[in-house]
């Protein structure tokens, strides 16, 4: 049982793992998530990052915003790089070359580097059972290259490669259920989180770090630029995503599913669940759905969200 207690006043006085001065957009959720995950580390930690907004904006040579050892290699292989670091840290300690008995390895990647191009490396690393935490920063498109659609883009979203046009109204496919794919690998711990529900996120990050084996956190990361909303409502959108059950908060802990935080409250009190329009109407990328000819799409999206929510509730043991 973890003795970790997060004290926000103590944490606010200590140095952070990620520093100010980075070039991420105003209101971007990625540095919020990274900051919160790094508040949960427990000792020597090394971070590997895939190519993406986070990597490019925090390390413009010769400047770096990282206060911990950090490596970036390529787009699709952050899970393999993290495997290499983990394997090397264990063998170097065994041979007496390194003094660190345990080095925690955290891999950050965007949805592009996880759902699509990175899924092979992720699946391989999970199957080999390396002890590392993989944090998916999901902003639901290839934001760094200009808001192109990815496997993580939801149904109906307008991106630059699935624009809302006269004939095709946005993306025609559903969002790939990445957390389910990872759970199917039967790894010890999988969880979803948002930066708005930070105590939940920090608790889950700490648990994932402490678990011996591969762990995965799927974090929702709203993007003011790509989702086309005002910078000040990034956190508000996370709350709406959870309240509409578009992005439920749950964890899979050694075979046992549990809802957590706000999603648990909604499951116990269904009147708290909001309709999907609450989430869609504040984002410019869904504004084309609010026309009479595209209303069926909102209905399809609502049905999909409801089906996933019911299925998730049936699997959870704590309702």
């Amino acid at each position: 049982m973890s003795m970790f207690r997060f004290n926000i006043r103590e944490a606010a006085k200590s140095p952070l793992g990620i520093l100010s001065g980075h070039r991420l957009c105003a209101g971007c959720a990625e540095p919020i998530i990274v900051k919160q995950v790094l508040l949960a580390i427990r000792g020597p930690t090394i971070v590997a990052t895939a190519t993406g907004c986070l990597e490019v904006s925090t390390t413009i040579y010769p400047y770096t915003s990282w206060n911990i050892p950090w490596i970036h290699v390529a787009f699709e292989n952050v899970a393999a790089v993290a495997s290499g670091i983990e394997a090397a840290s264990k063998i170097l300690h065994k041979k007496g070359i390194s003094k660190y008995e345990n080095i925690d390895v955290i891999a950050f990647a965007g949805d592009g580097g996880t759902y699509d191009i990175g899924i092979q490396a992720l699946s391989g690393a999970l199957e080999r059972g390396h002890d590392f935490l993989y944090v998916l920063l999901d902003n639901e498109a290839y934001m760094n290259t200009g808001i192109q659609r990815s496997g993580g883009t939801p149904l109906g979203a307008s991106t630059t490669t699935t624009p809302a046009g006269k004939v095709i109204p946005g993306k025609s496919e559903n969002k790939k259920p990445i957390a389910d794919i990872v759970v199917a690998h039967k790894i010890p711990y999988v969880a979803t989180a948002t930066p708005a529900h930070y105590l939940d996120l920090i608790r889950k990050a700490r648990k994932a770090i402490e678990v011996n084996g591969p762990t995965f956190i799927h974090a929702l990361s709203p993007c003011p630029r790509g989702w086309r909303h005002s910078e000040s409502i990034t956190i508000e959108i996370c709350k709406k995503a959870v309240d509409t059950c578009y992005f439920p908060l749950w964890e899979y802990d050694n075979g046992v599913y549990r809802l957590t935080d706000r999603s648990l409250m909604i499951a116990k009190n269904p009147s708290l669940k909001k309709p999907i329009e609450e989430f869609l109407k504040v984002q410019g990328r869904f504004s084309h759905l609010f026309t009479p000819q595209n209303q069926p799409l909102i209905k399809r999206l609502q049905e999909y969200v409801d089906a996933v929510w019911e299925d998730l509730k049936s699997r959870c043991e704590n309702i």
Partner: protein, 96 residues
């Protein structure tokens, strides 16, 4: 508020910089405060010191010194998340 061009990083020759592209300068030298003229103003009389603004700031531009919550205008990009999320609404975005 115009920043002087070229002052951010003195360019060095290939013999002087470390090999392998290892970045060495802290980004704290890059004062992103000039990205936006809007800055948060905390009403200290109403602030309950819950530190939600601190934990939700993308730029680590809110500080806590043990006694009071303070703003770091050098780094704040004016996104307004702190003002939007403060539970007692004691932060207002003002033009400086």
């Amino acid at each position: 508020m115009r920043r002087e061009v070229g002052k951010l990083s003195e360019l060095r020759s290939w013999r002087e910089i470390p090999i392998g592209g290892v970045a060495w300068k802290s980004s704290l030298e890059n004062k992103t405060g000039d990205w936006s003229p809007f800055k948060p103003k905390i009403d200290q009389s109403k602030c309950t010191k819950c530190l939600m603004c601190w934990i939700l700031c993308p730029d680590m531009a809110i500080g806590w010194d043990g006694e009071k919550v303070y703003e770091k205008y050098d780094y704040c990009k004016g996104c307004g998340i702190c003002a939007n999320e403060c539970p007692v609404k004691c932060i207002s975005m003002v033009r400086v």
